[in-house]
């Protein structure tokens, strides 16, 4: 036994001596089981919007822009927009829950206070919440492709990678949302982020029009935008154009996810434990 002398360690029959470490799977599963139960209540609404939204984008942008855009692109506009909307779906289904769910559960429902009184630490709590959001974002990222099929998009084996790309991207944006929730004074402050950060981010990412047509200054903005790298990966995977250069995009997304993950834990942790 490595217990310091003088401190008797109580051991419970049944559970036995339990080595408690960091990021325990049991704690992550416990936190996520709550998310699954809650999801059981609203999956219909989530599924509805994740299908209707890309349909509207495809109709509006497809019909509206098709007439004067095709000469700029090497691919059809359906291919272009359907894959672009995948990235948009991933962004919104991760950054928004990251911000709003975190803020509501922490400040209004005090769910996080309840969980932290149980044997769950801040790192496990936030990791589990971000994991759940990113798994969901990965799955729902497929919806625009399914809608795209109805508009003539060709199925491609590389599309099977989309949930994985969505997961990694969603992880970063969910953790980004948690970080914003941790530093926001009120829920209204999210308006600043939505209008000044997320909206430009999803437009300047090659979602609906190529960044190569943008002025050089704005092109640099696109390069540092994680969503741009997500769009490129999704498009290359879905249209069968994967190449070695895509590893660079993977690297950016993984780095973004890791940095945001640690930032979310440190920022929200500071506010949860006083």
């Amino acid at each position: 036994m490595s217990a310091p002398a003088g401190i008797a360690r109580p051991e419970r029959a049944g559970t036995g001596a339990r080595k408690i470490g960091r990021l325990e799977p049991a704690a992550l599963a416990g936190v996520m089981s709550r998310d699954v139960s809650i999801f059981g209540r609203y999956w219909k609404a989530t599924t509805f919007s994740s299908v209707v939204q890309p349909t509207i984008y495809l109709l509006a942008f497809g019909l509206g822009f098709k007439s004067f855009m095709p000469h700029l692109l090497q691919v059809s506009y359906v291919q272009y927009v359907a894959t672009g909307v995948v990235a948009t779906a991933i962004l919104f289904s991760s950054a928004f829950p990251g911000m709003f769910n975190t803020f509501v559960r922490w400040q209004f429902q005090r769910t996080y206070d309840a969980m932290l009184a149980a044997p769950v630490d801040v790192e496990e709590l936030i990791t589990a919440e971000v994991l759940w959001i990113s798994i969901r974002a990965g799955v729902y990222g497929l919806a625009p492709l399914l809608v795209g099929f109805a508009f003539g998009l060709e199925p491609e084996f590389g599309m099977l990678l989309v949930p994985l790309i969505g997961f990694v991207t969603g992880f970063g944006f969910a953790a980004f949302g948690v970080t914003i929730a941790a530093v926001a004074k009120t829920i209204d402050n999210f308006n600043y982020i939505t209008s000044a950060v997320l909206t430009p981010m999803f437009l300047v990412a090659g979602t609906f029009f190529p960044v190569s047509n943008l002025p050089p200054g704005i092109r640099v903005v696109a390069e540092v935008n994680p969503l741009y790298h997500c769009v490129q990966l999704v498009r290359d995977a879905s249209l069968g154009h994967l190449h070695a250069g895509d590893l660079g995009h993977v690297g950016v997304l993984v780095a973004f996810a890791l940095i945001m993950w640690r930032l979310a834990i440190s920022q929200l942790g500071r506010r949860l434990i006083d």
């Binding site: 109580p10 408690i20 429902q109 005090r110 006083d274």
Partner: protein
């Protein structure tokens, strides 16, 4: 490795303390919420932490789960040193918060299932643990009701059930009946008393004197971030209010006169509604003004100790 499995339900140290705090300090900016707190809660008792609002009770409770970190001092819970070993101690204790933090969208059963996982109740035992907790809290008929549709009293009982899902040997109750109707309060008192009888150590913070008097084996009076007196309710009454209290009724002028008389003679007195109450009436002899004598109670002791009127 011991190789031999030890019997369960043994106190952390034979005859020892379930909770021990030494010189604990917690500041929030300019405010010192807990100011050099020493506290020992023995295993197997119901311990009442009694104090007015703002005495530092809730801060103390949060420090026991390491959700608030002390600026100075030592805290150990069930033999584990905090905050380093807090996760282990949290595994073995239950917490009932003052503020309702239930998931309003889930059913009682779903909430208990989540916490059964969080408290590492083995899969095969979860169903039985949930039934048991529901039964203790008298919520079996409401098992599949969504929390939003429960009454205030049911929600509070569900909070208790949630804290008991893993059969902890220590339960923290932060103001368990604040804001509840008298009848629901009685229900919860019965529940808490049953737990204590079943061998669970209970630490309860409260600002209701009656609650402490009815339930607690030992009461520690907390004021301005530290313990100012400790003992059984009877000991506290005897030590700080004596056997009898003399209540003198009259118009405001008369009451002011009596208060001045008490001060001049060095008697401990307090305003008690439409009367002035003089402590230790049994020692007053012939010098006492006319009034009604009654047995001293914990409220008298509390006011004598803290100088504060509370419920």
């Amino acid at each position: 490795m011991s190789g031999v499995s030890e019997p369960a339900a043994e106190p952390p140290r034979p005859g020892g303390e379930a909770i021990s705090l030494r010189g604990v300090v917690k500041r929030f900016g300019e405010i010192t919420a807990v100011d050099g707190l020493d506290l020992d809660v023995p295993s197997g008792v119901c311990f009442g932490l009694l104090g007015p609002n703002g005495a530092g009770k809730s801060t103390t409770m949060r420090m026991l789960t390491a959700q608030t970190l002390a600026d100075a001092g030592r805290i150990s819970v069930l033999g584990y040193e905090l905050p380093g070993e807090s996760k282990q101690s949290r595994l073995e204790m239950g917490v009932v918060p003052q503020l309702d933090n239930l998931d309003v969208e889930l059913t009682c059963r779903q909430i208990l299932a989540v916490f059964a996982r969080l408290y590492r109740v083995p899969r095969a035992e979860r169903e039985a643990a949930i039934e048991r907790a529901l039964r203790i809290a008298n919520l079996l008929p409401r098992a599949d009701t969504i929390v939003r549709e429960l009454s205030g009293g049911m929600r509070r009982r569900l909070l208790v059930a949630r804290g008991l899902i893993h059969e902890p040997r220590l339960l923290l109750l932060d103001e368990p009946t604040v804001g509840l109707d008298p009848q629901i309060r009685q229900e919860l008192w019965t529940l808490i008393d049953n737990l204590r009888s079943g061998g669970v150590t209970v630490l309860m913070s409260t600002h209701y004197i009656e609650e402490a008097e009815r339930l607690a084996d030992t009461v520690a009076v907390m004021s301005a971030g530290r313990i100012i007196a400790e003992g059984t309710p009877a000991e506290l009454v005897a030590a700080h209010a004596g056997e009898q209290v003399l209540e003198v009724y009259g118009p405001p002028d008369r009451l002011a006169e009596v208060a001045a008389l008490a001060a001049a003679n060095g008697w401990t007195s307090r305003r008690s509604g439409p009367a002035v109450a003089i402590m230790r009436a049994e020692t007053l002899n012939g010098a006492a003004p006319d009034g009604v004598r009654r047995p001293a109670n914990l409220e008298d002791a509390f006011v004598a100790l803290t100088g504060e009127e509370i419920e």
